[in-house]
C-alpha cells in the first residue's frame, strides 16, 4: 500500500520527541522502533519497495487455502495474498507483510494496514446487482477514518453495467466469467470498478480503495 509521509511535518512536530526515543531503555526493541521509524521517515529515500521474488508454483503445491494476486497500480507492485479466515461469505486475505484485504464474495469491503484504510463498506445493493449479473443503479457507502480518528462515510452513486462473457483461466481456476462494470461518483471523486463474475462470486476485479491509493487489481488463482 502506498505510504505517504511528510518529512518536514515529522521533523517539525516530532523533533523533541525523537530525543526521548533515542537512548536506552528496558523496552529495548520497542522503544528503538519508534526512533527507527522517525529516522526512516526523515532519511529514507522514496525508492520503490522491491518485493522478494515468490515461487508461485512451490507455494501452490505446499498450501491449500485460497490464493490471489494483488496488483497495486500506483506502486506497480504485485503481491501474493492468502486467505486466513472465512466468516460466512466474508473472507480475509493477508499479504506476507500482514496487510489485510477483506472481501464479501470477492467484492472488496475493507483493508487494513494501508495508512488510509477503507474501514468498511456498505454495498449490499451494488453487490446484489453485480453478483446476479444485472444492470441497474445503486448507492454505496465507503467508510474511512479522518486524521483525528473519527469515522466518516463517503456515499457514492453508482451505475452497474454488463459487459462481455468470456473464458477465464487463472492458476487452478478455469471457467467462464461475466464482466460487470460499476461506475461511481460522489461529485468529487469518481471511479469505475470492474468485476469478472462467475457463479455468484467475483474471481478477478479492479476495485477502487481511496483517492490516495486509487485502484487495485485482485485476481484469484485458487478458490
Amino acid at each position: 500500500m502506498k505510504i505517504l509521509f511528510t518529512p518536514l511535518r515529522v521533523a517539525a512536530f516530532g523533533a523533541v520527541l525523537t530525543l526521548g526515543a533515542c537512548g536506552l531503555s528496558s523496552e529495548g526493541r520497542q522503544a528503538d522502533s519508534i526512533g527507527a521509524s522517525i529516522a526512516a521517515k526523515l532519511f529514507k529515500k522514496k525508492s520503490a519497495e522491491v518485493a522478494e521474488p515468490v515461487d508461485l508454483v512451490q507455494i501452490m503445491a505446499t498450501t491449500s487455502e485460497p490464493l490471489a494476486l494483488l496488483v497495486m497500480e500506483s506502486q506497480q507492485i504485485t503481491v501474493l495474498i492468502r486467505e486466513v479466515s472465512k466468516n460466512g461469505s466474508f473472507s480475509t486475505f493477508h499479504s506476507d507483510e500482514r496487510q489485510a484485504l477483506n472481501f464479501d464474495k470477492g467484492v472488496l469491503i475493507a483493508t487494513r494496514g494501508g495508512g488510509s484504510d477503507l474501514m468498511s463498506s456498505q454495498i449490499a445493493p451494488s453487490m446484489r446487482l453485480i453478483l446476479s449479473e444485472r444492470e441497474g443503479s445503486a448507492q454505496r457507502v465507503m467508510t474511512y477514518l479522518t486524521g483525528d480518528g473519527r469515522s466518516i462515510d463517503m456515499p457514492f452513486d453508482c451505475k452497474v453495467l454488463r459487459g462481455k462473457r468470456e473464458p477465464f483461466e487463472s492458476g487452478d481456476i478455469k471457467t467462464t466469467t461475466q464482466l460487470m462494470v460499476e461506475q461511481c461518483s460522489d461529485g468529487t471523486y469518481e471511479f469505475a470498478n470492474t468485476y469478472l463474475v462467475s457463479g455468484g462470486q467475483v474471481l478477478s476485479s479492479r476495485q477502487w480503495i481511496n483517492p490516495d491509493i486509487g485502484s487495485v487489481l485482485v485476481q484469484m488463482i485458487r478458490k
Binding site: 509521509f5 512536530f13 516530532g14 466474508f90 493477508h94 487494513r112 468498511s120 456515499p155 471523486y189
Partner: protein
Amino acid sequence: MPLPQRALSSWIPLRSALMLGVAAAAIAPSAALSEDPFAVPRAQSQNLYGLPGLIDMPTADIEADGQLTTSFGHFAGTTRSTLSFQVLPKLTGSFRYSALKGYRPNNYDLDTYYDRSFDLRYQILEETDQLPALAVGLQDFIGTGIYGGEYLVATKGFGDKLRVTAGLGWGRLGSNGAIGATGTRPIGVLGEGGIPTYDRWFRGDVAPFGGVSYQVNDRLSFKAEYSSDGYLAERGLNGRDNFGNLDPALFERKSSWNFGIDYRFKNGNQISIYSLYGGEIGAQLSLSANPRYAPLPSGAEKAPFPIAQRRYADLGWDLDQTTTDKIRSNLRSALASDGLIYEGMTLTATKATLRLRNPKYNAEPQAIGRAARQMARVLPGSVEVFEIIPTLKGAAGSAITLNRSDLERLEHAPASALLAVTSVADSAGSVPAFEADSKPQHSWSLAPYVTVSVFDPDNPVRIDAGLRLKGSYFIAPNLELSGSVAQKLLGNLDSVSREIPSELPRVRTDYAEYSRQGETAIEHLTLSHFGRPGTDLYSRVTAGYLETMYAGLSGEVLWKPVHSRLALGAEMNYVRQRDFDQKFGLQDYAVTTGHLSAYYDLGNGFHGQIDAGRYLAGDLGATVSVDREFSNGWRVGAYATFTDVSAEEFGEGSFDKGVRLTVPLSWALGQPSRKSNTLLLQSLTRDGGARLNVRDRLYQRVRDYHSPELAKEWGRVWR
C-alpha cells in the same frame, strides 16, 4: 479521475451520534460529516503577523477548522514568531512573541525589546458569489499593547486568481492616513498589564487599508498593499505614552506601499519575501499543519488477526486446571503479539473477564478491539461473553462487555454497529485478580532531554540539555515506585541575571536558582498508590519528592461515572519547598494546598475545567481552562488563573495565563504510540496562582476508557 474539488466552505458540522446502547439502526450508516478526509485544506497565505493576510495588513480570510500555523517573520530589526490556531471554524486565535532590536522605550535597559501579544479574529460573513468575506479582529488585545489595534476588513475574490481586500483599522492600524476618529483612545496600562485592553477597542483614529493578491499558479503568488500602520513606536514618534523609541528610529518609513512574493511548498509551508515601506526587505517562513488531517490516518501498523471460527473444547473444560492454565498462557502470548499485556482473567464456561493493560495504542477502542480478537482466537467456543477491564497503573478503568456472537456477526460491518451492542459499566466488583508474571512490572530508560524556557527579556530562549535516567517499579500492581534523575550537560537556563521581584513567597520565581544548583537533579522520586475506593470513584496518593521544587504528600479523589461528561475531583497536598540543589534536602517553606475541580466535556472536542482552591503561595482563587481536543491526541488549550492576589502584588502580567499544545507521536509517525509532547507557553513565571506539578493526575487517564471518550475514536475498534 477526481473532479474539481468541492469548496470546503459549504459543510455544516454534525455531531456524530455514536451513543452507546442505541440498538436501532445498527447497520445503517453513522451520522456522517460531509467533509473529505483526503482533501487536505490549503493553508492561507500569512502576513507578518502570522495570520491570513497580505503583508502587514490582515484580510478577511481564515484557515480551515483546526489549522495550526507557526510563522517566523523578520524585517527592520523586528522578528515576529506567531502561533495561530483556528479555534473554531470562524474564530482564529494567535499568540505572538516579538523581538524588536534597538527599540528602547522609557526605562528599558536592554538592546532588544521583547513583546508578547494575543490576537483574535472572527469571520462575520463568509464569502459568496455576490458578497465579500467580512471579518473583525483584535490585535494584541491583552497586555502592554505595542501592537494594539483593531480592524474590520472585507476580502473578495474576482475570478480564480485575484483577491481584493479593503478595511478600516484602529490603534496601530489607524496610525497612518487616518480619515476620522471614533472617540479618544486611552493610553494607560490597565493593572500591571496582562489584562484585555477593552477600554481602547475601536476607539481613536481610524484609517483605511487595502491590497490585492494575485495567485500566479499553484505555488506562487504576488501581493501589494497600502498600509495604515504608521510604526510610530518604532520610529520614536509615539512620545505620548511609555512606548516611544528613545534611540534613533528602527527604520525609515518612506512609503505606505508594501509588496510581496509568496512561495508555497507542496506540504503547505510557505516562504515569503517582502519589500516594505519603501526601503526595507523582509522575509517570512510559515509552517502549517492540521490535527484533523494525518499523514496516515488509519495507521501503518499491521492488520489485526481476524475473528476466528470457534473451536469447542470438551464439556467441563473450565474445571480442568491444566486446560485453563494453558488458555491463560496462550492468551497472554496472543495479547503480547499485539503489544497488549495480560494481567489476569476470570474464566467460566460462558464468560471471560480479562484484566488488560494497554501500553501501546493511543486509541483505546483499538486496544479493546485487538484484545477481543485475541480472546476470540484463544478461548473455547462456549465462552460467549467477553468482558474487558483495562487498568490504569493497577486501578481498574471500566468494564467493557461484548458478546462473541456480535463480534462474529459484525466483524465486517461499520464500527458503529459494534458500538450499539457494546456496554460500558463501572468495573467495581468484577475485577479479576492480578496474575503475576515472572517478574513485577518495571521499566527504565536513559535518554537525552531538552528543556526550553522562553520569554525572559535577558535571553529570550534558554535551553538546557542533558541526560535523564528514569525508572519505574511496581511493588504491587497499583503501587508504583518511580524516579527520575537528570544530569545537565549544557545550557543557559541558569543565566537569569535579573532579580525577579516578588511580593509573595518565592514559590516559583527561584527557577533559575534550581537550574543553577541542580546540575544533577532528582526530578522526582515518589511512591504512588492508585485505587478504586468505590463505584465511580478513583484515588491517587503520591508521597516523596513530587516535583523539581516541592516534596511532600499529595492525595486526590475523582468521581466520574462511566457515562458522564462531568467529573468532580478533590486534591489536597502538604508540601515543603526543596533545596535548590534538587537533592534530598528541604527548605523551611511549607504549605498546604488543595483544589476542588470540575471537569466537563463540552462537546465538539471542547473540554472545560475549573479548579478552585489554595495555591502554593497561600493565595486563594480559581483556574479556568478550555482545551480543544482531537480524538487523535492533539490538544490546544488556554488557561487563566484568578486569585486574591491583587495585580500589584502579582506583578507584571497581573494574573497567570498561558497556552498549551500537546502533540501525539502517533499522529506524526502513523504508528500506534501513547507518547506525546506537551508545550506550555506560560505568560510569565510568577508566584501567584502557582499549582503543584504532581504527576499522574487522575482525570486525563481515567476518562480514556469511559463511554464519551471511547465513542469518539470507536472507528478504530476494528483496526
